[in-house]
């Protein structure tokens, strides 16, 4: 165990090469779409809506298709089953998501300039946590909308879970939910971070001095501190 920790510590302390730094820069740039393009798209078809109703979820707002009219239409339809109105104010995510993405971006840039493998590992883990938490939060939101139906609704339907990924038939509606451009960009960020991490980890391990030398370096650093 001890040799593994010592070895890892030494790897984590290694500065990043130009390659991984470049990739982290790319990862940071791939965060930018999250501010301007949608993360998720929901499309709803019904016989009366052959062209579909569209809902685009950004990091900071909800936007309906057809110049925003589709959200109003969706809310009008959902009020019959007692679903709460979809409003931007209802999503606390819209307040913290852009902030967190920005903060992550700054951490990425710090990695690009001053980075060590350790920084890279931190931002990768942070990013993974952020992504999974956001996804859970979105899924929970969907669940909550489909389950907190007003008991006084004109049309009583069984509580339901709208699809998070893929298609589903809900009453007369075919509902499709898929990630959109900026989620793919965030996926790209994840891929970039993992590639950079693997690359830099391998490089650092390969370039480590021999075990004894490493032990000496370790001893020296301990002595220095």
């Amino acid at each position: 165990m001890k040799p593994f920790i010592e070895k890892s510590n030494r790897i984590l302390g290694s500065p990043l090469g130009y390659g991984p730094r470049g990739i982290i820069l790319v990862a940071a740039l791939l965060l930018v779409p999250a501010f301007v393009s949608p993360l998720w798209t929901m499309t709803m078809y019904a016989p009366q809506y052959p062209n579909g109703l569209r809902l685009q979820i950004y990091s900071h707002k909800l936007e309906g298709g057809n110049g925003g009219q589709d959200v109003k239409e969706i809310n009008i339809l959902n009020h019959y089953i007692g679903m709460k109105d979809l409003t931007t104010e209802d999503f606390t995510e819209f307040k913290w998501l852009p902030f967190v993405v920005g903060a992550l971006g700054l951490l990425f840039l710090r990695g690009v300039v001053f980075g060590t493998v350790g920084n890279l590992l931190d931002i990768t883990i942070l990013f993974a946590y952020f992504s999974l938490f956001s996804l859970w939060s979105f899924a929970y939101k969907l669940w909550a909308y489909g389950h907190n139906l007003a008991p006084s609704a004109a049309v009583k339907v069984a509580p339901f879970m709208p699809p998070l990924f893929g298609g589903k038939q809900l009453a007369n509606f075919e509902v499709y939910s898929y990630p959109a451009a900026s989620s793919y960009a965030l996926g790209g960020t994840a891929v970039a971070l993992i590639v950079a991490l693997l690359w830099s980890w391998q490089t650092a391990r390969r370039e480590l001095p021999s075990v004894s030398a490493g032990a000496a370096v370790g001893a020296a650093s301990r002595a220095a501190s």
């Binding site: 016989p47 006084s152 004109a154 009583k156 990924f165 499709y176 993992i194 391998q202």
Partner: protein, 621 residues
């Protein structure tokens, strides 16, 4: 070698991640999967052949489509779906001069609109007899159109105590009665005050039987029955074994007020009321009932056996009696099923007094006791029509489709999508004892641009469906005037309209047949101008009156040739009449504006139509 392996491994990981990302990169389909596949060329050819009526050829059926709040009846030919004519009923129509001449103006009674919903053809032994078409209107009126000349002959009402006459006109199998009912219960008689929080107790629903004279077709009030303050919605008359009963649905059995879309949608069941109209007729004849609003109103609390409540699926809309009269089909519009009630079971439950309670003295039957089947037709079932051999067709508003199912086996065999949001539907003689099958028209609320764009006021859509085979087939899209509610489709050979008014039948006291008799006659400040219109002169060609005179033009079209209509438009006096061949019409007005006013023939008649003109000269005081 070692390094190379690592590079390969790294590459493989990167590729794997990319592949994963690509797997996730999926999109919604660009069109709904549920939409039916596009019709094939051969399907289209079949549909084209089935709906093509060659120039000069005639359609097989008439379709009388209600005009909703336009107040008119529109007549279409089926299968061509060509608009043949408009019959003005509740709204003035300069095209035929309706509402401008003295008689039709008086018939309209000062109202210039009516919300016409449910046309009903007169019946003999439960089948259309082609004599009259009745149509209701929300302001408490029912009109009678004579199918001999396609003209509105009588408007009955506004009936006392009836408020928002939606559940109407649904005639009985031998045209004994048409139905009227209150969709918006109010305190009665009209003019009574009661605050809105007294709704559940002080507001009343009323149903009325409008008696129809078997010879003349003239309407009079037969009886009125007091009902709880529910929103009485749609009805049908029993036939065969269920003859003698009216069935009428309601929503808002909650007796709620305010935001009804919520407050009136709380109970799982509302009702269909079954009214024994023979009992009502008897009670009225015996002088029973309490005077309300100048008429006797029968209270079911005091007259047992008059009415029973059949619990039905939530907020039902349509109720339709099967051709053999055995089943009463009720659809809860907020349910996914249609219920077939067995009339015999209803009668058994009534005999055994299997009641669960009452509403304002009307016994409530048990749903389980009287139903035969719940048919899983689909979402938002509204109305049911019938074909021969026990087929039933139910419109599905939410699913925007028609479901085909079988009486007795209760099996749903087919669905056809409607564009979009179907309301009523009309099959060929589909509400009689002998439905003809063959065609079905879906009367849709939305057309959503299936037509050349005509701006925001989009037309409604009526779609023709072929029901000759196991699978229903959409044949044709027609775009109709607002707003088709119900319609009636009758075999064309049952109607024999006249094409001119025979001279011998014209008994109008002011009719003249010779231009020599034409001219003004003064009596004090009243001037009667007997007028002849014939190709191509309006005689007299000029008339002089004094300012302030009351002027009546009595105009006879002395033509006996088909399609030789003449108009009489009087400029600046807002008058336009159209007089059919052999017809006499009068128009009366005060000549309060001095000056010279041209009158002329507005309905093109002949090569010298332009010359068919004259002057009204009003001499100032």
């Amino acid at each position: 070698m070692h390094k190379q392996t690592r590079t390969v491994r790294r590459g493989a990981i990167a590729l794997g991640l990319l592949a994963g990302a690509l797997f996730l990169a999926r999109c919604p389909p660009s069109a709904p999967k549920g939409g039916k596949a596009a019709a094939t060329v051969s399907d289209l050819q079949v549909a084209a052949m089935k709906t093509y009526v060659a120039p000069g050829d005639l359609d097989e059926f008439y379709l009388f489509s209600s005009g909703g709040h336009s107040g008119q009846v529109y007549v279409y030919g089926v299968p061509s779906m060509r608009h043949l004519t408009t019959i003005p009923v509740f709204t003035p129509y300069p095209g035929t001069g309706y509402g401008f001449d003295d008689d039709t103006k008086k018939m309209l009674g000062g109202l210039t609109w009516g919300d016409a919903h449910h046309p009903a053809l007169s019946e003999t032994n439960g089948d259309y007899d082609g004599r009259w078409l009745f149509i209701n209107e929300m302001n408490g009126r029912v009109a009678r159109i004579d199918l001999r000349d396609f003209k509105t002959k009588e408007i009955f009402g506004p009936a006392p105590n009836i408020s928002g006459n939606h559940g109407s006109s649904f005639v009985t199998p031998n045209t004994e009665y048409a139905l009227m009912s209150s969709r918006f219960s109010i305190p009665i008689p009209k003019g009574t005050y009661a605050s809105i929080d007294k709704y559940a107790t002080e507001y009343k629903g009323v149903a009325a039987g409008i008696k129809i004279d078997p010879q003349s077709g003239n309407m009079s009030l037969g009886w009125e029955v007091l009902l709880p303050p529910f929103d009485w919605d749609l009805g049908d008359a029993g036939k065969g074994p269920s003859d003698g009963w009216f069935f009428l649905t309601c929503y808002n059995a909650e007796r709620a007020t305010g935001k009804l879309e919520v407050t009136a949608s709380q109970r799982d069941r509302d009702y269909i009321v079954a009214i024994n109209w023979r009992e009502a007729e008897k009670a009225a004849k015996e002088g029973k009932g309490d005077m309300v609003g100048g008429v006797k109103v029968l209270d079911p609390k005091k007259i047992p056996g008059l009415a029973y409540l059949m619990p039905c699926g939530k907020s039902p809309h349509g109720v339709d009696v099967s051709p053999d009269g055995k089943w009463i089909i009720g659809s809860g519009k907020l349910a996914g099923i249609t219920t077939a009630f067995n009339f015999e079971k209803v009668m058994t439950a009534v005999r055994n007094k299997n009641f669960t309670g009452d509403e304002d003295g009307i016994p409530v039957l048990k749903y389980e006791d009287i139903k035969d089947a719940e048919v899983p037709v689909g979402l938002g079932p509204l109305h049911t029509q019938f074909g021969p051999d026990g087929w039933a067709y139910t419109s599905l508003f939410v699913d925007s489709a028609i479901a085909k199912w079988k009486l007795g086996t209760w099996e749903v065999v087919d669905k056809v999508p409607m564009s979009y949001s179907i309301g009523h539907l009309a099959a060929a003689e589909g509400d009689t004892m002998h439905p003809k099958g063959k065609y079905l028209v879906g009367l849709n609320k939305l057309s959503h641009g299936r037509h050349l764009s005509v701006g925001p006021s989009q037309p409604e859509s009526s779609q023709l469906v072929d029901i000759t085979e196991e699978k229903m087939k959409l044949l044709y899209d027609a775009f109709t005037e607002p707003e088709p509610h119900y319609a009636q489709m009758i075999k064309a050979d049952k109607l024999h309209p006249i094409e001119i008014y025979p001279k011998a039948e014209n008994k109008h006291p002011l009719a003249i047949w010779d231009v020599k008799d034409a001219g003004p006659v003064r009596q004090g400040d009243k001037v009667t101008v007997k007028t002849v219109v014939v190709r191509s002169t309006i005689t007299p060609t000029s008339v002089e009156v004094k300012q302030g005179d009351t002027v009546m033009f009595a105009i006879t079209n002395i033509e006996q040739t088909t399609d030789e209509l003449h108009g009489f438009g009087l400029l600046d006096y807002n008058l336009n009449l159209v007089i059919d061949p052999g017809e006499t019409k009068t128009v009366t007005f005060r000549a309060d504006k001095p000056g010279v006013f041209p009158y002329y023939c507005t309905n093109f008649c002949s090569a010298l139509h332009q010359e068919m003109q004259g002057y009204l000269i009003v001499k100032p005081k």
